[in-house]
Amino acid sequence: MRPEGRLGGVLILTFAIAYFIVGLSMPRSSLGDPLGARAFPLVLGGLLALLGLSLAVAPVKVGGGAEGSGRPSMKAAALAVLLCVYGYTLPLAGYLVGTILFIGITAYLLGERSWRLLIGLSAGVSVGIYLLFTQVLDIPLPAGLLEFMKG
């Protein structure tokens, strides 16, 4: 029995209790709406708390069911941070510039070491996607830094 199973149950229980408490702060049922806004969430919070408690007390006994190789890796963490930065800066940098950088940096992170490919392929693919959406499908994408190029 892996200890993480128990930890997961505790985390779920904690979250459920927090959700339940926030739910309690909502007003009781109003006239003509017997359940009101809080009944459904309270039931959900209670249900999840019970499930979390049960998983914390008696974790599921599974050998090797989970995906991935054990502990979280630095690579996955770096990729997640990169995605956040990419998402946050997309409207500022524009889709084209942002995507060239994102694809290039991610490919490098995942092991590509040919600089010619890193620059050429990132730029080529990004321009391709950009043209496909803006020209063929007529779906606007944020222009960002390249705003001045628009007529």
């Binding site: 997961g8 995906e67 190789s69 956040c84 997309l90 991610t106 693919v125 499908l137 007529d138």
Partner: protein
């Protein structure tokens, strides 16, 4: 026969060269929209409405519905190849489709999805012609009481999606239902669980959650396997479907078609519910339920057929009653208004050219899509040969367009990433993800239906006892949820629990 005369009239309109061209363009663009992860049929159609400006009503609707089925067809492609669902309804297809791709059977999986969609689409259209009007009348009888019962029935599908532990399945389902409670509560206008973040007022969009939980977490997980020398994709053993595989799937396709069509008529999240239900049905009645989730071809055939049949069924409330009952038909509803056709119960009488032209074009579109899609399979399968270090960032960059298009908000991109991290940890701890989507899609409708029902009855639960449809659905749902436990106690499910 009267219907045949109408149909001949419809073909007269749909076969005009210009309309055939529009149907083709629609199917092509729709397939593209469907294949690109993140852009579902409804979002894709809404974005492409400008394409219909200045066209006559029949042509405009033929073009848009071409996009609709094209997107339904294409939606399964990235789901099967990369475990990146194009839309919520494809989430179930991922369970077995992606496993098939990992075993080198991506070709047959894509082929059965296309063939299943074709058969289901055609059956759906035939049913639409003959049963449409009477069925629409029955669907009108579905009040909040029956809708709530239907949602409970939908939730019982979690038992087939739960994987090894039913408790973990219920945790995932409850998380999804909780996500549905975030945002503005419509009846009271109250903000719920927005914890001071304005972004959360709109609630969680299904596309953002599906892309985050599935696509982002998939790539986070795979990226760490990259260094370990394990070959993740690349393997493509066979591109074509064998006759044996086809014969195995025929039953699933036919059952999925009929079930999907019927569910499609009911308002709400038709495609999603239809594909989840048909998957459950196949698994429950299979002699080898343990093969589901391991690359079972019926697990691809059934939901893909059901969701295409549901797409046709969803047209019924629109065409016969003038009611948009799903996201996609709301877009069609808007498009009809724009070209000067007011959807109403008299659409068949007032605009026979639009209605019958559309029905005839569905037949044509279906054939086109099959012809278009089967050869494309060879091309799609090549995607798997792209080195993952390039494939992953490209898939993410395209998925992010779909997420961004939902609200034109970069906060959605960050939300999708955070959900991806959540999905990553859930998967590492062996929690199934499909129930989260099921809960999110059904949660809001379920709560609203329950509250409306109790408003009508003034708080008395008797209203459920008084509706035979609701009682039947609830009893069956409870039976489905409890049955695995009972079977387990008797030791019958011992081998599947391993």
């Amino acid at each position: 026969m009267e219907i045949m005369e109408h149909l001949a009239y419809g073909f007269g309109i749909a076969l005009q060269p210009i309309n055939v061209l529009y149907a083709f363009i629609g199917c092509l663009v729709g397939t593209l929209i469907g294949v690109l992860p993140g852009l579902g049929p409804a979002g894709g159609m809404a974005l492409l409405i400008p394409l219909t400006y200045g066209k006559d009503p029949a042509s405009a609707i033929i073009l848009l519905s071409g996009i609709y089925y094209g997107a339904m067809y294409g939606g399964s492609t990235t789901t099967i190849l990369l475990n990146v669902p194009g839309e919520a309804a494809s989430v179930v297809t991922a369970l077995d489709g992606y496993q098939m791709a990992r075993q080198g059977r991506a070709g047959p999986a894509l082929a059965i999805a296309a063939i299943g969609s074709f058969i289901a689409g055609t059956i759906g259209i035939v049913l639409l012609m003959f049963l449409g009007p009477p069925l629409a009348q029955t669907a009108l009888k579905f009040g909040p009481t029956e809708m709530f019962a239907l949602m409970v029935f939908g939730l019982s599908m979690v038992t087939s999606l739960a994987g090894r532990s039913l408790r973990k399945g219920f945790v995932a389902l409850t998380l999804g239902l909780m996500m549905a409670t975030v945002g503005v509560d419509l009846p009271t206008g109250l903000l719920r669980f927005t914890i001071g973040i304005p972004k959360l007022m709109e609630g969680f969009d299904v596309i953002v959650v599906a892309i985050g939980l599935f696509a982002v977490s998939e790539i986070l997980l795979c990226s760490e396997e990259l260094g370990t020398g394990e070959v993740i994709y690349q393997k493509v053993e066979r591109v074509w479907l064998s006759l044996k595989e086809f014969l195995q799937s025929v039953g699933a396709i036919l059952r999925g078609s009929v079930l999907g069509f019927v569910i499609g008529i009911l308002p709400g999240a038709a495609h999603v519910t239809a594909s989840f239900m048909s998957y459950t049905l196949e698994k429950k009645f299979s002699r080898h339920p343990e093969t589901f989730g391991q690359g079972e071809i019926r697990g691809v055939a059934a939901p893909e057929s059901a969701n295409n049949a549901a797409a046709v069924g969803a047209m019924i409330p629109l065409l016969t009653l003038g009611l948009p009952a799903s996201a996609v038909t709301s877009v069609l509803f808007g498009a009809l208004l724009m070209v000067g056709v007011k959807p109403s119960p008299f659409l068949f009488q007032k605009h026979p050219d639009v209605v019958w032209g559309l029905i005839a074009s569905m037949y044509i579109g279906n054939v086109m899509l099959l012809i278009l899609n089967l050869p494309l399979i060879q091309l799609w399968v090549k995607i798997l040969k792209t080195p993952p270090r390039w494939l992953f960032p490209i898939v993410l960059a395209i998925s992010f367009i779909g997420v961004y298009a939902v609200n034109n908000s970069s906060l959605d991109l960050i939300l999708a990433t955070l959900l991806g991290v959540l999905g990553y940890f859930l998967r590492k701890s062996d929690y199934p993800l499909a129930p989260v989507i099921l809960g999110l899609v059904l949660g809001d409708m379920m709560e609203q239906a329950l509250r409306q029902a109790l408003m009508i009855s003034d708080g008395s639960l008797r209203i459920f006892l008084d509706s035979p449809i609701a009682m039947t659905l609830i009893v069956v749902a409870v039976a489905i949820m409890v049955a695995p436990k009972l079977l387990y106690r008797r030791g019958m499910a011992a081998e599947s629990e391993g």
